[in-house]
């Protein structure tokens, strides 16, 4: 006889803020923040690429710091604030980075795009006018296999100019 209840140790109670909204849930202590967002909270915009912190597809902002959500436990966000790609656009419209990615054709398959957007926002929030080398250095933790990065870098430069 099988069960629909996840076996293993008892769950951890988490109260957190995700994209400005309060969330409260129970999470298995071993579950990554990536799976917590995708499976418990239901936000699938954050993507899985490697599960070992080397591709950046799962990049989110945790209390304003850029992290690979596959390397953080869901239980660790208790009392903290998480921003994902779903929180970038507002009722006013797209974030300038999102608009620039569209206009500059900075995505092809799009699987790395949420991670790049969150990472680039983390850069521009702290450094409004980075040069090309700084952008390339900042984004080196995010892999894109489709674009060769040129159009991504241009999109970040364009968004930076728009936000100035």
């Amino acid at each position: 006889m099988t069960t629909q209840v996840t076996p293993g140790p008892s769950r951890v109670h988490v109260r957190t803020t995700i994209n400005g909204n309060s969330h409260e849930f129970l999470v298995p202590p071993y579950m990554s923040l990536l799976d917590t967002l995708r499976e418990i909270v239901g936000l699938t915009g954050t993507k899985e690429g490697c599960l070992d912190g080397n591709c950046g597809a799962c990049t989110v902002s945790l209390d304003g710091r850029i992290v690979d959500s596959c390397l953080v436990l869901g239980a660790e966000i208790d009392g903290k604030s998480v921003e994902t790609v779903e929180g970038m656009a507002t009722s006013e419209g797209l974030h300038p980075l999102q608009q620039a990615f569209l206009e500059e054709a900075a995505l092809q398959c799009g699987i790395c795009t949420p991670g790049f957007l969150v990472a680039a926002k983390g850069l521009l929030d702290n450094e409004p006018a980075p040069d090309e080398h700084r952008i390339r250095h900042w984004l080196a933790g995010n892999l894109c296999r489709c674009t060769g990065y040129d159009k991504i870098v241009r999109a970040v430069q364009k968004a930076s100019a728009e936000m100035a």
């Binding site: 799976d35 993507k47 690429g49 054709a105 995505l107 398959c109 894109c144 489709c146 159009k151």
Partner: protein
């Protein structure tokens, strides 16, 4: 009879850069990729894989896994229908059904480390992985080989016993070494005898991976009436349907495949891996949906990389610079099952040049590594490394100008390709001419940083492109917008490039067409997103559907005006009467007035295209090397490529840049690094080390347009050829920088330091 078209010089939609139709979903996180699907009662599956490169499976004990709390089902090869040892067509050419099934779940032997053995379904992913670890497999480990030389050693057993005594193996002397073809034309031996300059060398490459960021995934569920539903990230929903039907021995029409958004493929998401396992688990678990995501290590070890291998090439030229003879032997790794794509290598190796006397011998070599799959112009980058390197060396040896020699011997309309076909209108000469006009070509290489050296190289490449079958349905809305339904999964902006061709034909804007990629129940057969065929062939189908819609609307206009059908013409988006200048109506206005003319207007287009029109590119590379460490930085890179006609130039540039980036990784760093016992030692992104944004310069692009005469808008495929020239372009630049020729790829820091030390 293949229809030909006269290109127009000006278009309204084609050549513009609209925002792609799926863009909003993809920048907001709303787009649903394969891993994002969630169904009621869904459980999770995973796969147990072999730690050994070559072993006989003595027993598999799944009892401990099955007894675990939360586990719903465990499946092994015996849970799949018994596969006969017979050839079947799986949409990628014929293959042996037993091999196809054994690659999904191994039966008697495991043939590579990472070979799937069992599937487990459980309440969640973590539990499934725990249970997979509880499966006990007893192995008898066999000798293994992971390169084309070791695998033909006398004490190396046959990887596939079916080849023992086969004609191809008899001829080559080993069951792991199967001769595929010899293409011969003219008299190469006599031509070499008469040549003033003869040069030959051996080139070696390692297996590499496509590196798509999204892992393979599949979700499957059975209906109670025996219908199977699959959701997956794939380059071809119909190809998945075809392959799953063969493996599960059921009718294709009993399977519905829904292609979700796909996070990269580059050829690697044409084969199936997880789909039949998910289906078998779903059935055994009581017809509940089972979702599977392949972990990254297994993507490297258990999906389909690109062949490494060895290429021996000999070229002969006259003293006045005419290439007169070529001979090559290609020994390409197939992985554990046949299919190295050496045939494509044979089609491409001489395709940049007009060589009157030539021979190509191709071998498919079995090794204990995963079965290779297509990777962007499969088979062409490897042979480009050989010929574009040797052409450079020949020029240096004979004192020829490297550009002039290539231009003088360039393939053109009427040139015979190595494997036989005669080229139609192609753009090799135009691409070489355009390369010479680039800013990059005409700029100084610049000062190297202190202690470092710079070099420049260039190289060309070819890909034949394919046509094949595509279907498109159109339906007209009252407001004059058009719904476009297609079967081509969109990996890089093809919704836009298809919609733009429909819009151009209909005289409306790109935004007026709403493209949707649908499941196999909802549109006619459409071949894979591969072979650089989608903008070409599905675009052609969209054109045909649009022409049919215009014809139908002409009839509707004639009814509206009570005139003869033949009196209605359509030009620049306006229907008008040929005889009465008072009668004219725009496409969108007519769409709102169809109520009384005969109901909704829909149309379909389908194609089956044999001719595709090959594409060429030439790349220029400047790099800087630190001789102390061997670290190599590409400092400037320019791509010149014939696109026929660029429908959406931004996405054409994107294909060029992305292909070049992959090729630069292939040239400098990427490889399957195999341990002595046949296990991939670098099966993570950290150790496989693909190029990052910091490793590459801004890649410059020049689009050359030599319209393809067999496409209504002159399109040539653009996706694949850009990965072909980088390996030799980088190698030629390294030679220029350090004066030493490297003939083994990757040309990594270790090899550069070793070359400088010797």
């Amino acid at each position: 009879m293949v229809a030909t078209f006269e290109p127009k010089s000006e278009y309204k939609v084609i050549g513009t850069r609209p925002i792609r139709h799926d863009g909003l979903d993809k920048v907001t996180g709303r787009a649903i990729y394969g891993a994002d699907i969630k169904l009621p009662n869904m459980i999770w599956g995973t796969v147990l894989r072999s730690p050994h490169a070559h072993a006989r499976i003595k027993s598999v004990d799944t009892s401990a896994a099955e007894a675990m709390d939360g586990v719903h089902a465990v499946v092994v090869n015996a849970d799949l229908p018994k596969a006969e040892n017979k050839m079947v067509d799986l949409g990628e050419g014929a293959t042996n059904l037993k091999w196809a099934v054994d690659n999904i779940l191994a039966s008697d032997k495991v043939l590579y480390a990472g070979h799937a053995i069992a599937g487990v379904a459980a309440v969640d992913r973590y539990t499934a992985e725990e249970a997979a670890r509880a499966i006990k497999v007893e192995y008898e480990v066999l000798p293994s080989a992971t390169n084309v030389d070791d695998t033909i050693a006398s004490d190396m057993p046959a990887i596939l016993e079916e080849f023992v005594g086969s004609p191809g193996a008899e001829e080559s002397g080993h069951a792991n070494h199967v001769k595929e073809f010899v293409h011969e034309f003219g008299d190469p031996d006599e031509a070499f005898g008469g040549a003033d300059h003869v040069i030959e060398a051996e080139f070696s490459l390692e297996m590499v991976h496509q590196g798509y960021i999204e892992p393979h995934n599949a979700t499957a569920v059975w209906d109670e009436d025996g219908r199977l539903k699959i959701w997956t990230s794939t380059q071809g929903a119909f190809t998945v349907r075809q392959q799953v039907a063969a493996v599960l021995q059921m009718s294709e029409s009993k399977i519905r495949v829904t292609p979700l958004e796909i996070g990269g493929g580059f050829g690697g998401k044409i084969p199936i891996y997880l789909e039949p396992v998910a289906a078998a688990l779903s059935r055994k678990a009581g017809n509940v949906p089972v979702k599977m995501i392949m972990e990254r290590r297994s993507v490297f070890e258990g999906s389909g990389p690109a062949a490494g291998g060895k290429i021996n090439l000999k070229l002969g030229a006259t003293k006045d610079g005419k290439l007169v003879a070529a001979d090559s032997t290609l020994r390409m790794e197939a992985g554990a099952y046949p299919g190295s794509l050496v045939g494509a290598s044979g089609m491409c190796i001489y395709a940049c040049y007009n060589i009157p006397n030539m021979r190509i011998t191709g071998y498919d070599v079995l090794v204990n590594k995963p079965k290779v799959a297509a990777y962007r112009a499969p088979g062409s980058p490897q042979v480009a490394f050989a010929i574009e390197t040797l052409v450079d060396d020949l020029c240096e040896q004979a004192g020829f100008d490297k550009w002039q020699f290539r231009r003088d011997n360039a393939a053109k309309e009427g040139t015979r390709r190595g494997d036989g076909p005669i080229f139609p209108r192609i753009g090799m000469e135009e691409v070489l001419d355009a390369a010479k006009e680039t800013d990059h070509w005409n700029s100084d290489i610049g000062e190297a940083s202190p202690g470092r050296v710079r070099g420049r190289g260039f190289a060309s490449g070819y890909w034949f492109n394919v046509g094949l079958q595509s279907s498109v349905n159109l339906s007209l809305n009252d407001d004059g917008t058009v719904e476009l339904v297609e079967g081509s999964t969109d990996i890089g902006g093809t919704r836009a490039s298809i919609a733009m061709q429909a819009a151009e034909t209909l005289g409306i804007t790109a935004e007026d067409v709403n493209p949707t990629v649908v499941d196999t129940d909802t549109v006619g057969f459409t071949a894979v997103t591969g072979g650089s065929r989608v903008t070409y062939a599905t675009g052609y189908a969209a054109y045909n559907a649009a022409i049919e819609m215009i014809d139908k609307l002409k009839v509707r206009a004639s009814r509206l005006w009570s005139i003869d059908e033949d009196d209605v013409q359509f030009e620049d988006g306006v229907f008008s009467s040929k005889s009465d200048p008072e009668l004219s109506i725009g496409f969108k206005d007519l769409a709102g007035k169809l109520g009384d003319t005969g109901g909704p207007v829909t149309s379909t287009g389908s194609v089956d295209l044999e001719a595709a029109g090959g594409a060429y590119g030439t790349h220029i590379c400047d790099l800087e090397i630190d001789p102390e460490t061997g670290k190599t930085d590409v400092v400037r890179y320019t791509i010149v490529q014939d696109a026929g006609r660029a429908i959406h130039p931004s996405y054409v540039e994107g294909q060029m840049q992305g292909g070049a980036a992959q090729g630069i990784g292939w040239a400098l760093n990427e490889e399957y690094y195999m341990s002595d016992d046949g296990v991939m030692a670098n099966s993570s992104y950290l150790d496989y080390r693909m190029p990052t944004s910091l490793d590459l310069p801004s890649i410059e692009t020049v689009i050359v347009e030599v319209p393809n005469p067999v496409h209504p808008y002159g399109v040539r495929g653009v996706g694949e050829v850009p990965i072909v020239p980088p390996v030799p372009a980088v190698g030629n630049a390294i030679k220029d920088a350090i004066g030493i020729r490297l003939r083994e790829a990757p040309m990594n820091a270790g090899r550069i330091v070793a070359a400088l030390d010797s």
